[in-house]
Symmetry: C2
Subunit: 356 residues, 2 copies
């Protein structure tokens, strides 16, 4: 009997010890839908990097399967996938949802907006995360920075842009808000699926296009058919987006929540680092192998006219919605301060000594 009792006590003790551990060891299997096709470089690396960190840090307790666009068949369905809980997570870009909610437009980048370091400072210390939460809470979606491309180039042009006249009638693939701005100055912005871009430019269906920057442009081949590569103005710090279904998140234990949030944040920062690398290496390759490509900036008066139209459009948005006004005022006040610092730090530094 003594032996039996000891065993019984032992069992009860074991059960007490096992119980919280067994709970902690519950495994979660999540799915993430991304806007990009399979093996899409850099953007797709960000989701793989995030999922790998989560897997390793959680010792396999949270595994995230990534479905690319070929699988879920709806590149721009990510918002609804996550809202409805069909997928626990998504990877896309906030400005794709402006048709659903205009205020989602401001959490990716804006023409003449902040640089990447400035924008991260705004997100994490200047109220950006809080404003993004206000915008997304009503949809049961948590939104996080999802990786930055760095400054995007102004695009590939078959003809040089010397004056505002050259914008009139210019057929250019430039979707979204920046296209609206150019339309005000007489350009004809269009959107064309990525796979058809090269042919459209080659056959003069369009006169110009913007894609991303050297990091992703090189493999598209535009350098073979467009002699002018313009510096950027319309997407100075494009930040992709991780989305998480709020209910799914709430079901995770606190340590897995922390692991997920840190992994998303790190994958986002890492993508900016990777973009900087790929752009540097690919720009060097373009300059070496395609010496006829001329890198240009738009003339001052063209830039100023574009900026004036941009400011007018933003003022219209702000007048139409008090939440928009609040977000835009936050961005404007913050970027004014941050830009002063950028000018006296990195810009002054780079001007301080002669380049090669």
């Amino acid at each position: 009997m003594i032996k039996f009792r000891t065993l019984a006590v032992g069992l009860v003790f074991a059960a007490l010890v096992i119980s919280p551990l067994a709970h902690a060891e519950k495994k979660y299997r999540w799915r993430l839908a991304e806007t990009w096709g399979p093996n899409f470089p850099i953007f797709g690396d960000a989701t793989k990097n995030m999922a790998k960190m989560v897997d390793e840090m959680s010792n396999g307790r949270l595994k995230i399967r990534i479905d690319s666009a070929n699988k879920h068949k709806s590149a721009l369905g990510i918002f609804d996938f996550v809202r409805t809980g069909q997928y626990q997570m998504g990877h896309s870009a906030s400005y794709y949802w402006k048709g659903k909610d205009i205020n989602t437009l401001f959490f990716t980048t804006l023409p003449f907006g902040m640089t990447t370091p400035e924008q991260y400072a705004w997100f994490y210390h200047g109220g950006g995360m809080e404003l993004m939460k206000e915008t997304y809470d009503q949809y049961g979606i948590m939104s996080f920075p999802g990786g930055n491309t760095g400054n995007q180039m102004g695009g590939w042009f078959r003809k040089e842009i010397n004056s505002l006249e050259d914008l009139k009638g210019l057929k250019m693939r430039i979707p979204g808000f920046a296209g609206e701005v150019l339309a005000k100055l007489g350009a004809s912005p269009t959107n064309i699926p990525p796979a058809e871009l090269y042919t459209a430019l080659e056959r003069n269906t369009i006169d110009a296009l913007e894609w991303v920057g050297p990091s992703l442009d090189l493999r598209m081949g535009f350098q073979k058919i467009a002699p002018f590569y313009y510096t950027g103005w319309h997407e100075p710090a494009t930040e992709l987006q991780f989305m998480v279904n709020q209910e799914a998140y709430d079901e995770l234990p606190a340590d897995l929540q922390a692991i997920l949030v840190v992994a998303m944040k790190t994958a986002a920062y890492d993508m900016y680092t990777q973009s900087t690398h790929e752009s540097s290496v690919n720009l060097a390759e373009i300059q070496e192998k395609f010496p006829d490509v001329k890198i240009r900036s738009f003339p001052k008066d063209v830039m100023n006219a574009i900026k004036a139209e941009n400011d007018k459009l933003l003022a219209e948005f702000a007048a139409a919605d008090p939440e928009t006004k609040k977000i835009l005022e936050s961005i404007e006040a913050y970027s004014k301060k941050a830009r002063q610092w950028t000018r006296f730090s990195d810009v002054a530094y780079l001007e301080n000594f002669d380049s090669e």
Copy 2:
């Protein structure tokens, strides 16, 4: 007997189940020694941020206690603390160890070196991490990026610098490699403990000093006594350093290793974001409350002379040690490519439109 047997089987089963869990649940208590005093802003936030992420992600299985300099009494003893295993971790800056090993000098920043995004790209994609590992492996220390200050300002000057003549005899607090460079041009670089800096400048014991930038300079009060604030050249991207004792790391299970590495990486990136924020806000405060402070850049010929001396010194280092040569060649080749991209992206962008 049947009951007893069932129990016995149950116990064996319980033991089998508990065993790996109990192992996984082993708790680790680590200590980190940092160069900074207690509550040192930004730098000290990086260690607290890292330890908090580790605690939360590991569900308390790895706790890291932070000892500031007031506790361990040896601000520059961190390298040896970690090498000997007296502390499992340290937080400091690699260039403090150049007296022990000249090659540690190159993993913080260099005069006329890379900007922060360029340098992160070099660390993670350009071979920087591998070269740092080569340098530190022999000491049983793992070294990781530990947080970036962003571009540091050139310093506070009581008199304007108009020519190379003005550097002759200039008494300036500027320690380390940059001080050696200025000495070649006739300046008298000195090092002075932080607590005595203000008085030294006020009483003309020194004519100038560099500290960090607006993020940390504001609270030092230099803006009250030095009218000229010069833009930077000597520390364009100062990266602090996490150090981990290799044996202690090897004893951690794989998931805690992953948690630690990700937390250090994220805390480093986060510090760059925080530095950008604090510098932006504090620069605005300096400009608003101290309108007499003039922000200047050194004249071109002064910068060029400083850069020539800098290049000479680096060439001497490279000639003295093949590993140094290898590291410097890696940095030079990488920064040349990355700088081209920086010029055509952020710099062209910032020049593209009129500032306020």
